[in-house]
């Protein structure tokens, strides 16, 4: 019971903290923009960690779906003049269809083959969007109307924060439900799971569609906030960042991954230029190299991520302590 109380307290503290942060930051646009971007990456990272870490499907097409969502909404708003709301709905529909299609194609692909296939699809999409610039504005960037007129930086912050909390809540709930158990069973041993009655096809495709839609939704919403989208977001760099954040945060848990993403995104920003011991260092593009190094080292020495142990300690240890205590008790009983 005590474990539960601690969990609830921590969650409430975090939510409250994030909720009140804009005021603590004095409403400064720069900080708010960084946090908004951090929340966006957190949504993508946690959903990717759900797909890859929990369900075991290492799809490299996640950013492609985000881009698909953003471009669908953007193109619709530009060419049909609809309001962003309909654009976002369309983005959801389109990513659902594509997610379903790709998910079915990927059924037979495992491990590296799935990764390669999704890299290929992602690149094909990116190049098409880039090249057909008479429709998509290519590298010049497609302009998207704001989410609602008169939106402020604080508004953007809260929109993405709410999105993140909703998605995290959803993913956390799914991970603990039978959906999560089936996905993990499929990840461990697909044939054995099937022999035990799990409809592997349905669950594999479902998780793919779900995470793709989340990515597409996040992409659509975020780029309406930013106002402009280019094919660069579908470049492998962005996908690599998501992967790095997920690994650093923790692949097993969407919440750890989200934490990792937020902190890493902030770190990425601060690394741009900082002062240490009175010395000003401008890292520029080296920040990405730093993250590459972090990714490699974390993977090598802290396989479960850097934040996962914290989450584990807070949320899962209590249950295990119970079990260990019970076992000790039993052993005592037998002896005594």
């Amino acid at each position: 019971m005590k474990g539960r109380a601690v969990q609830l307290a921590v969650i409430m503290f975090v939510v409250l903290f994030l909720g009140l942060l804009p005021f603590a930051l004095g409403g400064q646009p720069y900080y708010l923009e960084v946090m908004t971007s951090a929340f966006f990456y957190a949504v993508l990272t946690s959903s990717w960690s759900f797909l890859a870490g929990l369900a075991g499907q290492f799809s490299f097409g996640h950013m492609a779906f985000a881009g698909l969502g953003a471009y669908t909404s953007g193109l619709l708003c530009r060419y049909l003049g609809v309001s962003p709301l309909y654009g976002i709905l369309a983005a959801i529909v389109v990513t659902t269809l594509f997610g379903f299609g790709v998910g079915i194609l990927c059924l037979r692909l495992r491990g590296a083959y799935l990764a390669l296939f999704t890299i290929a699809l992602s690149e094909i999409l990116r190049i098409i969007v880039l090249t057909e610039h008479q429709f998509t504005e290519g590298n010049r960037g497609l302009l998207l109307p704001p989410l609602y007129s008169g939106i402020t930086h604080v508004g953007q912050y809260y929109v993405t924060l709410v999105l993140l909390l909703v998605i995290l809540g959803l993913l956390w709930w799914l991970a603990r439900s039978r959906f999560g158990i089936f996905l993990r069973a499929i990840r461990e041993d697909e044939e054995a799971a099937a022999a035990l009655g799990v409809n592997t096809v349905r669950y594999k495709v479902s998780v793919f569609v779900l995470t793709s839609v989340i990515a597409g939704l996040a992409g659509a919403i975020f780029y309406h906030l930013v106002g402009i989208v280019t094919p660069e977001i579908m470049q492998l760099l962005q996908m690599s960042l998501i992967i790095a954040f997920a690994v650093i945060g923790g692949l097993e848990s969407p919440i750890a991954a989200a934490f990792g993403a937020i902190l890493c995104r902030i770190l990425l920003e601060t690394l741009r230029g900082f002062t240490i011991f009175g010395v000003h260092i401008e890292l520029g593009v080296w920040r990405y190299a730093v993250f590459g190094l972090l990714l490699v080292l974390t993977l090598r020495f802290a396989q479960n991520g850097l934040f996962y142990p914290i989450i584990d300690y807070l949320f899962m240890r209590p249950a295990r302590r119970e079990a260990v205590a019970k076992r000790k008790q039993e052993v005592e009983d037998v002896r005594g």
């Binding site: 069973a185 035990l196 799990v198 409809n199 295990r320």
Partner: protein, 252 residues
Amino acid sequence: MLEVRDVHKHFGGLQALAGVSFTLQEGELVGLIGPNGAGKTTLTNVITGLLKPTKGQVWFGGERIDGLAPYEIAMRGLGRTFQVTRAFRRMRVLENMLVPALAIHGRGHIKSLRRKALEVLEFLTIDHLAKEFARSLSGGQQKLLELGRLLMLDPKLLILDEPFAGVHPKLREAIYRFIFQVNEEGKAFIVISHDMDSIFTLSRRIIVLNCGQVIADGDPLSVKEDPLVIEAYLGEEKNEPGSTRAEEASFA
């Protein structure tokens, strides 16, 4: 309850099963034996849907099941264990047990399923390991877990593929206990094994497979004395490359 009708299975040019037929009644406890490469695992794979028969049919509970997906067959109450234990290693023991339970009970009450799982684990004397990750269990404990997990499927027929392989005597007792008790509750068993002592202890009916065909089907004594069976096991030094490949191919 289970009817295997003239099942054939080719792998390219290789004939793994060449016309296997037998029937199983509810609650029967049958041992399935045969030399290496006879087609026992292939037959199991065909019955449980991992493979489709080239010819022939498999009926279960009055319904034709060959051609159905493995999970559909499992949902109908036909489960199996594997020669090499395939527990879900990165999941806890209790979660392993819940997978089939949740699969067949849909949105069932997790609490009651958890309780049932713990009961089964207790019966198998591994309930103290409920919160452990499956990978930290010993080989023997994993075997017991697999049996318990299979039971959570609420099956009417359990096919055990080499449950005694590499198992020490004390554990073998536990597995006997499991099989007898569950059989008493009315569930049927097909036990595949090379361990002759165990098979002859357990079963009241033995089916012998050789080169993809049933060469004997009856009570243990008559099977023991059947000349065909003796020849199959002790017979001429035929080392047909085809037969070992059949066993290998069935793992594909």
